[in-house]
Subunit: 565 residues, 2 copies
């Protein structure tokens, strides 16, 4: 990893205008979501602006994607809220301190994973599981924002408790707040659906809704006259807050949450970078992504104090605004500084209900039911994994939900591979092509069994292979030769190699020879030095037809052997 | 599952003599290990005899293996000791009650898994991990038996603590006990190593050592004169002990241990049955194995109160004694009843140090260093999994050790599959064979990329495929056609299918067509109904050479196309 990123070293001058413009546009367009996601995370909304400065620059210098935009994002925000709210009151000084610490610890962990080249761990989740996790999180997000739209005070430790407390508080709903919230939801939904053909307007709509509602609140004095909650005065000294160490009990309580946020952050960041790279003919280094994301979170700890991540809508805006290199991210960070220093007065009257409305609309868009339907039709086990993860997140929380997701990903993987397709082969008459005897009319040898295994051999599918072999041998007592056709066997792990040794030995005791055919190069490289290979009772054939011919001529008198083809 | 096992329904009369003889021999030969493993489990030695009665019969009626012998075994015993000794004093009434409950709960859980057809879960562990787990358990076993050989009282909660307490107690070593113990270890080791060519004598040696040492103790009155610990009076009423329910706190404490013992029991029983079946041309039904093992443990709860399992040496003795069907197990159970009723007086003076010695020698034999060496040479990741599991068991305990084992099994699986072998193909001149361009001199088309992926496509290896594709496209800007050669792709899961859809779409936006070649039948069956297939920008070729020819003629004027082969 060079100290000066390569995109700076060879910066193409013709990209300068595009990048600067994109950075400025990005800053303006992400104001609504930055404020909103800080609110979602249980922090003062301005934290979202602060944390769009240094982290973006840190990621631009250390990450590997040219266009991914890092900042406050929905999933990271809801995870922050859900892990911290049982420990501290959202918005309190203690909560803010813990959130900053969470950024630091997850940043260090993620960066460490990047340095240790553990990027491949982010592949532990299948797409259906990620989609189910996001859907479950979206439900949690919507439940958490309902209180801002109703204008009531509620603080629950779980989804169920929150819903119950809100139901109790329903009579206390602030009518004006509710009207603002619902109107915003309506406006944003109409914009999302109706303005698809005018993407510029569609992307501007959240900002416009924010500005309009702020105007309404300030001109009608809704905050003082009708108790509509607003962002309030923004204190600039938040930027240079002293980073204080929480006490030990809190640190221990944060250990698990750190793992959760780090893992999800890793998965999200790398998959996002990958998706962007394919479109743009770029290379993504998963481990550099982690180092970049880790550095961004470390920077976030000291400037805003909120975990950040790679965002889908954030990056989409970045790309749509014309970003070519990470310079756009640097520009957006710097222009956010200017914005924060120069003019945040207009935010003072911004109603929280409108921020919450934008979160709810965004969250609704995160639920990908199409992915569930597609999985249901293609591979039901994946659909069950989607549902299991989503329900796990909603009912048991994000940490249990993601653990279930990992478990379901791996369980489906193991379950599928444990029942490999195995075919007994016979020869299509007059050819040297060999096919499944159950699907085709083939000729076979009475004393030889040709078994093709359509799967790599590993500890998870050995039982099936042994069971099938035993079954076939029981059905034909005359078998003297068993040929394992290895065309589709990409790998043979240690357990499989040992089991094949056992099979070789046991068959030999029964007077049966074990042969291999069409062993792939990498597989042969490893097996060549094992007892299995050197002590193989039979031969290794380069092709199935050669095995067939050799074994066929074994049984014929010498004169006929020459005639048999 | 028929109520009357099929082996009873069609019992071959000519096996009767073999089975009855094998059953009797088995009973006599397993007396030493049955007593020893009960001691290892922290229970009165006679519990080992009791629990060799009903469980064996229950398994014979419900299991599926013809020759596996179920009873007290080393791994189950050390697990019982290690999960119960932190909760209760070994040998106390409370401990005995908990052990019986552990049998019942694990029996119910195992039987439930069998009925629910969850037998495939036993494949969660690779062979190196199982071997490492057994090696770690063997070390724990030897540490736990040292106190009987030294003749001191020690009760530690962890391996480290036990070793420290024993070191403190060293001055109190009972010299006579130590001599008996070491002499037994020497005798048994010599028998194991030196009598290999006389297997009958080798198998009888533990029994002979037991009898000789009992004679020595009783004739020299070593128990009263030199405080040598012995088995003591065997109370027959232990057999009809009232099964009492422990209190709730203990039940909750047993929940985790139940899972552990059940899982290990499942793995051991099924792998043992599998190994025995291949030798004997038999069929093993993993789920029936679980039902049988579960029933055996339920029976054990009410008769002896000690978890049981499928044993390597027990089954080996059964086979060597000539057993043909599970009738041998029934006979051994019944003859154990006779033995217990008629004559256990001779056991009264059996020194515990000798039992412990037989355990230590057996445990030493369980450490399979050869498996470690073999894994080291064949696939280092598996060797690391072996070591990690063994060390995890020794330092962190059996439950953490097995969790690490599962984690390491799955991690190596994922790690291997995450870096698939991908080859760019070119044609060997003058042939229709296609090979890796890096290994052979081949001819390629400048505008077409032929990419062969040597692995099933799933969520774990998509990053590698996308990265390689991006890399190849960056190196050749002229590429207009990408052909994915799917000969070695046995499976395409939902995540992979979605990523291929993304790739299809992104390439199309860049003016590149995506084609498939040599798609396997089962893969095509699933993919055919997806948007990927119907919306594929390119074609599906039945062979690589056809893809090559078609793409080659795309570029040539019509006249030359006919000439190109």
């Amino acid at each position: 990893m060079a100290l000066i990123p390569h995109w700076i070293q060879h910066y193409p001058r013709h990209h300068l205008r595009d990048d600067v413009l994109a950075g400025l546009v990005l800053t303006v367009l992400v104001i609504p979501q930055s404020l909103a996601y800080a609110l979602l995370a249980g922090l003062p909304p301005q934290a979202g602006l602060y944390v769009s400065i240094l982290p973006a620059i840190a990621y631009a210098l250390l990450g590997s994607s040219m266009v991914q935009a890092v900042g406050p994002v929905a999933i990271t925000a809801i995870m922050t809220y859900s892990v911290l709210s049982p420990i501290a009151q959202p918005g309190s000084a203690h909560y803010i301190q813990l959130a900053a610490w969470l950024s630091l610890s997850s940043g260090l962990l993620i960066a460490a994973c990047g340095v240790a080249r553990l990027g491949f761990l982010s592949q532990l989740l299948s797409r259906p599981v990620v989609s189910g996790f996001v859907a479950g999180s979206a439900v949690l997000i919507m439940v958490s924002q309902a209180k801002f739209i109703l204008g009531v005070e509620v603080h629950g430790n779980s989804t169920g408790q929150t819903l119950r407390l809100m139901a109790q508080q329903l009579p206390n709903t602030n009518q004006v707040t509710l009207m603002l919230g619902l109107a915003s939801i309506a406006a944003l939904t109409i914009a999302r659906v109706g303005l698809k053909r005018w993407p510029v307007w569609m992307r501007l709509s959240p900002l416009l809704v924010l500005l309009v509602s702020t105007l309404i609140v300030s001109s009608l004095d809704l905050d003082s006259k009708h108790a509509v909650a607003v962002v309030g005065t923004i204190r600039l000294d938040g930027m240079s807050q002293v980073f204080t160490l929480p006490e030990l009990a809190s640190l221990q309580a944060l250990a698990g949450p750190t793992l959760l946020i780090s893992f999800i952050g890793m998965v999200q960041c790398i998959t996002m970078a990958q998706a962007l790279a394919v479109k743009r003919r770029e290379r993504v280094d998963a481990n550099r992504e982690l180092t970049g994301l880790g550095a961004a979170n470390i920077a976030a700890a000291f400037s805003g104090g909120m975990p950040v991540g790679g965002g889908l809508s954030r990056s989409a805006i970045n790309v749509a605004a014309g970003a070519q290199t990470p310079l756009a991210g640097v520009v957006s960070g710097l222009s956010m500084v200017v914005l924060v220093l120069v003019g945040t007065e207009w935010l003072t009257k911004l109603p929280l209900a409108v921020l919450a409305a934008s979160i709810v609309v965004a969250a609704w868009g995160m639920i990908d039911v199409r992915a569930l339907r597609q999985a249901w039709g293609y591979d039901r086990a994946d659909a069950i994994a989607w549902l299991g993860t989503a329900l796990g997140v909603i009912t048991l929380g994000l940490d249990t939900g993601i653990a279930m997701g990992i478990g379901l990903s791996l369980a489906t993987l193991l379950w599928r591979s444990s029942a490999p397709h195995i075919a007994v082969l016979g020869r299509l008459p007059g050819t040297s092509t060999f096919r499944n005897v159950e699907r085709y009319e083939t000729e076979t040898l009475p004393h030889a069994l040709l078994l093709r295994i359509d799967e790599s051999l590993f500890f998870g599918n050995l039982q099936a292979v042994e069971a099938r072999l035993s079954q076939e041998l029981r059905q034909s007592e005359q078998v003297e030769d068993v040929v394992l056709v290895m065309t589709a066997v990409n790998r043979v792990d240690t357990s499989a190699m040992e089991v094949l040794e056992d099979i070789n030995r046991d068959l030999r005791e029964r007077g049966i020879k074990l042969h291999f055919a069409e062993v792939k190069g990498p597989v042969q490289d490893r097996l060549m030095h094992t007892e299995l290979w050197t002590g193989l009772s039979g031969q290794v054939f380069p092709s199935v037809s050669q095995a067939f011919q050799t074994l066929q001529s074994k049984r014929l008198p010498a004169a006929d052997a020459a005639l048999a083809i």
